[in-house]
Structure formats: structure tokens, C-alpha cells
Symmetry: C2
Subunit: 361 residues, 2 copies
């Protein structure tokens, strides 16, 4: 081993660094325990986890990251350190949309680190119930889901809950074309959730222009069917190819290479401002002409960016609409507060769903 | 918030510590890059990941851990730091027995950290092929598996491979009794992999003494059947309850509360000694009386502890047996080397499967 002489001093330096990191992590954990004691004495036992403080720490780490590790990696390492320190007080119980191995579980770990206890639930409603009842501290649910089609369930669950949004998680999602066929020529039908079909439309138009597209309940179901229906192909994550013994005919067929899925973290408490927040609202209007235009006006007037709007029929009566709106900023920010006051004058109902830190990475 | 005055100095101290940790992790990453350059100059490009060095670092961290975080947590954090530093050079490609969400994937992440690319394969043989061909750097396979019943496939795969064992991973496994039934009284049949039935025998004898026990191909299959066969219950991980909408009739029914599953990491290169190693051997004997006794003698004579022995019929002919043996120590340890020399005199064939660091946690 020619390089051993050169390697020894480098390894000794690494060992010394590791000893320092270990001592610092231990000290950090002891201080975190002290923070827990102070909060308990102040009667803030339920407040042991503060999403706004966590987001600020992670942003500081991200912004101060000198390299060579990328921001995502250093944020993940610090997430683990914080997750471990927090678990000393009480491990967070986190409900997620199961089964195990789903993107939602991945999102839960990305947001909370590995030192939490995650619990799979089969339906969005059950996650809301588990959090509302106090059985879990937080729940993680998909909200703009490119592949599982549960967006509307999540939004509908907000109609009848007192839970608040305390965070968001963004995951990058790739689609592949999977089939028992050996080549694209043999494919006569493409199966996928309608959202996945939409996300890959340009690719399908170009490479499979005359092939039937059939929406099914989920991409997992599409993959299952592709394994038994001759001549069919599924749009799904590459993982499904192994599961159902399908060939990967093409990778990354999504039209937008930055295709992401967004998840919301729901909890029982409001989160303080961090300087880089989002606010989610549920707004209902009557079926008057110009109703939507009217409710958007306060945001325009006060210079508030809207990042998302989604309309849903309300459950209360025909002709009543409900809008889910995401805006930039925190309810405690002066401009946002003014816009919300104006909005309350114009809408039938405004329900504040939470102000929370934007996803750090 | 009564405690804010007391919290502020604690939080400032945490922020200062985080800045120090970040700087140290960045420095560690730069030195790791330097290590990579030195190795490359010395023509050791394939040797960029050294399991023995990693095990030594993790043991040092574990042994120096001053608390309050437990050893498992600090080892996991350092695993992530090392995993991230290593990925700067080249992310490790790791094959595991799929599908996603299995214990084997959990084992792969536990051993290599999150900064690796994991690839699910549907069969043990394919994992061996993926590693032998160089498509993946390492493979993770269950070897003493309490729930999936693939032990023999793994051992058989070693008969015909030149791959070497480069590590082991130990996971704790819990079993639950799952059923569509509402109570134990209604259960008429218990389904599970035969190993799971064996691991829960005392509990079954006590609480379901007159109920039929039916071995099936896996605990996952048992859970699937329990959802459709009236009056049946499955022994499986609690996770399966959500997946198949079963009731959890009882938790932790395994007789040994330290029930663990062991996984092996296979690679293409030998691993150096760390001072706390295991060696795995494949030994064949003729069908002579006392053959087994003879091959065990060298270990007794040289004071080597045997941690495991498993007999398998060889594929070469009737009446030929093959023994898989794990001993404590590394092939380069003098006592082990002497025992192996003696063993070679007594056995028909001795195949060294690898010497590797014992699992750190």
C-alpha cells in the first residue's frame, strides 16, 4: 500500500475531528435536555418541539455550509442530530399515510429525522384523527401528489378539522415506463394515475402518440396490472419494476425534470414566524359573479404572493365553492395580517389552516 | 412564555455548537476527499471504502460516547457523517433483497447510512450477480432471518461464488399476532413462516394451545392470507396489520425478547482485521462417523469460539455435507490462522467466506 504513509496523518486528523464532533453533539444534547427542563418548569410541556426554531437552525446551517458536502446532505445530518436531541425528552410520534415504504414515509423521515416513531395509517382521515386525539404529535399527508391521487382527500379533511399545518415537505419524484413488453413498439396501452399521465403527457405524445392511455386508481395499481395485462405498460416509480417483475422501458419520462410531490405536516399548535413562511387558507365564496376575483384582490393590494389555489366544491350546499389558497408569509407578518383582515370582509368564510416555515431543502 | 429569558442563552449556546459542528464536518469532508486522492494516486481506486476502518471509527465513537444520547444514536449520526463524506468520492451502490420497505433495506441503510444508492433485487442470486459483475459495490442479504425464510438461499449462494463477506448487520425484530378476528377465542389457525412459528412457540403453547399452526412461505404471505381466510391469524410485523387491515390481537409474542435478524454484507474484496472480527467458513466433510467432531477439534484446540454452525446438504452428491461455520477472530489473527491450517488437514474442503468486523451496534 504505497499511500499508507500519506494516509496516516489524514486519518489521525479525521479521528481528532470525530472526537471533537462527538463531544459537541453530547454537549448539544445536554443543553437540549436543559431546554426541556426550562420549558417544563414554565408549563410548556406540550411545546417541546418548535418547528419554527428547527427551520431556523436548518436554514442557518444550509446558508453557512462551506462545502464540499452539498446543502441537502448537511441539512440531513443536522436533522438527525436535532432529531436525536429531541428524542431524549420524548420521541415524537408521527402518523403517515401507509403502507411502509411509501413516499409519505420518506417525507416523514426527511422532515423529522430517524429518531421519531412513525405509524402508518391507511387513510388520510385516520391520520387527522390520530393527531387530533393526541395519539400522535404530528401527521404527514400528501397534498400535491403526483402519483397517488389523494390530494382531494387531504384538502377535504381540512374542511372539518381544528388541526393546523405546521410544516411542508417536498420530495422529488421520477416516473418510469414499466412493462412486460420488451420494447416501446409492443406497447398498446399505458396505465397510470391520471396525474402521472398528465405529468408525462409530452413524452407520451412524442414516443407513444397512438397508444391508449387509461387512468387507474394509483401508479402502484398500474404496475400491478401491467404485470398481468398483455401489451400494457405502467407509469410508476422504478421501484415497482422490481416488485412486479417489469422491464424498465424508459426512465425519467416526466415532462418537468423538477417534478416534486409536496406533503403537509399537521399538528395541534400554531407555529411562530421564521421570516420565510407560508400561510394556508380555506376561503368560501357565494356563487356571485366575480367572487373569486374579489377574494384575490386583498393579496394583490398588499403585495402578497399566492403560491397555489385549488377550488373544491363545498359539502354544505350546491353552488358553494371552497378555495384552498397558499400565500407567502406568516399570519403575524403585518402585510399578511392586513390582507387577511380585508379578505374576511369579502369572503363568506375564511379559515386559517396554519402559518409554517417553507421547506428548507 | 415565562421561560424565554432562561431559554435564550441556552439557544445561543446551541447555535454556537452547531456552527462548530458544521465547520468540523466540512473539514472532515475535505480530508476525506484528500484521502480519496491519495488512494487514487496509489492505484487503490477500488479500495475507496474500507469496512475495517469504518468499524474502528464507529467503535471508538461508541466507546467514547459520554451520553446523554445512547450509543445506537451516536453511531447512527456518525454513520451518516461518514456516509456523506464517502459519497463525495463516489456514492456506494448497494443491492438488497427487495421490495422496498423490507427489513433488508433497513439493514442496508443501518450499515451504510443514507448517502448510498440502494437497489432492490427480487432474489438472493441476483444480488450476488449484481455484486460479482461490479454493477453494485455491495449486497445485503438476510442470513439468519426470523421472518422471511431465505436463510438457505443465502447460504447456498455462497457455495458457488467468489464474493466475500465484508460485514454483518443485526436488527431487532418483533412479532405480532394479526387477524380479522376480534379476539383470541375466535382464532382457529395460525399462519406464519416456520421460523416465526418456532420463535413464538412458547407463547402459542400458552395462549393458543389447541389451535392449528400452518407454515407458509413468508410472514407477509401469512398476513395476506389472514385477511381472506376466516378464522385465521398471522404472525408478522405490526406493519402488516395496516397493510392488510388486520387487528393486532397481541404484540411482541416472540419467546426471546432479544429476537434479532442478522444480515451479511457481501463484496468483492477482503477486509483487514479490526481486533473484533468474525470469520465465516464453508467446510465439507465426507460421511465418515465423527466427521463433524473432527472438524470442530481445531477450534477447540486453539481456543477459538464458534458463534454459529449450520449444516446443509451439498449439491455435489448424496451423503456429502457442507457446514457453514462462524468463528470469532480474523483470518490474520495468529490463533485463527493456526486453527484454519489444522482444519484444512481434516476437512475435505475449506472455503473461506470472509473475515469482517462484528456488527458495532
Amino acid at each position: 500500500m504505497a499511500g499508507e504513509d500519506k494516509l496516516r496523518p489524514l486519518r489521525e486528523r479525521i479521528d481528532a475531528i470525530d472526537a471533537e464532533i462527538l463531544a459537541l453533539i453530547a454537549e448539544r444534547a445536554r443543553i437540549a435536555q436543559e431546554v426541556g427542563r426550562v420549558k417544563q418548569e414554565a408549563g410548556e410541556r406540550d411545546n417541546f418541539y418548535r418547528p419554527e426554531r428547527e427551520a431556523q437552525i436548518l436554514r442557518r446551517v444550509r446558508d453557512a455550509n462551506p462545502g464540499p458536502l452539498d446543502d441537502e446532505t448537511v441539512v440531513r445530518i443536522f436533522r438527525e442530530i436535532m432529531s436525536a436531541c429531541l428524542a431524549l425528552e420524548k420521541p415524537l410520534q408521527v402518523a403517515f399515510l401507509g403502507p411502509e415504504g411509501t413516499f409519505t414515509q420518506q417525507a416523514a423521515y426527511k422532515h423529522f429525522g430517524q429518531s421519531v416513531q412513525v405509524h402508518p395509517f391507511p387513510a388520510i382521515d385516520e391520520i387527522f384523527r390520530a393527531v387530533a386525539s393526541g395519539a400522535c404529535h404530528f401527521g404527514v399527508v400528501p397534498v400535491e401528489n403526483s402519483s397517488e391521487g389523494v390530494v382531494t382527500h387531504t384538502l377535504d379533511s381540512f374542511l372539518g378539522t381544528s388541526l393546523l399545518i405546521s410544516g411542508e415537505v417536498v420530495l422529488r419524484i421520477h416516473h418510469a415506463l414499466l412493462s412486460r413488453c420488451r420494447s416501446l413498439d409492443e406497447v398498446q396501452e399505458v396505465l397510470a394515475h391520471s396525474q402521472a399521465l398528465a405529468q408525462c403527457r409530452e413524452w407520451l405524445d412524442r414516443f407513444l402518440p397512438n397508444v391508449k392511455r387509461t387512468p387507474v386508481s394509483s401508479n402502484a395499481e398500474a404496475a400491478r396490472l401491467a404485470a398481468i395485462v398483455p401489451g400494457s405498460a405502467a407509469i410508476a416509480g422504478e421501484v415497482a419494476a422490481r416488485l412486479y417483475e417489469l422491464n424498465v422501458l424508459e426512465r425519467n419520462i416526466e415532462d418537468d425534470p423538477d417534478n416534486t410531490t409536496r406533503f403537509l405536516v399537521v399538528g395541534r399548535q400554531a407555529v411562530g414566524p421564521t421570516g420565510d413562511d407560508k400561510t394556508s387558507l380555506l376561503v368560501s365564496t357565494g356563487n356571485r359573479p366575480g367572487a373569486l376575483y374579489q377574494i384575490l384582490q386583498p393579496f394583490a393590494v398588499h403585495g402578497i404572493s399566492m403560491t397555489k389555489i385549488e377550488s373544491r366544491p363545498s359539502r354544505r350546499g350546491m353552488w358553494d365553492y371552497v378555495f384552498f389558497i397558499d400565500i407567502e408569509g406568516h399570519r403575524d407578518d403585518p402585510e399578511v395580517a392586513r390582507a387577511l383582515r380585508d379578505l374576511e370582509q369579502k369572503a363568506q368564510m375564511v379559515k386559517w389552516l396554519g402559518s409554517y416555515p417553507k421547506a428548507v431543502i
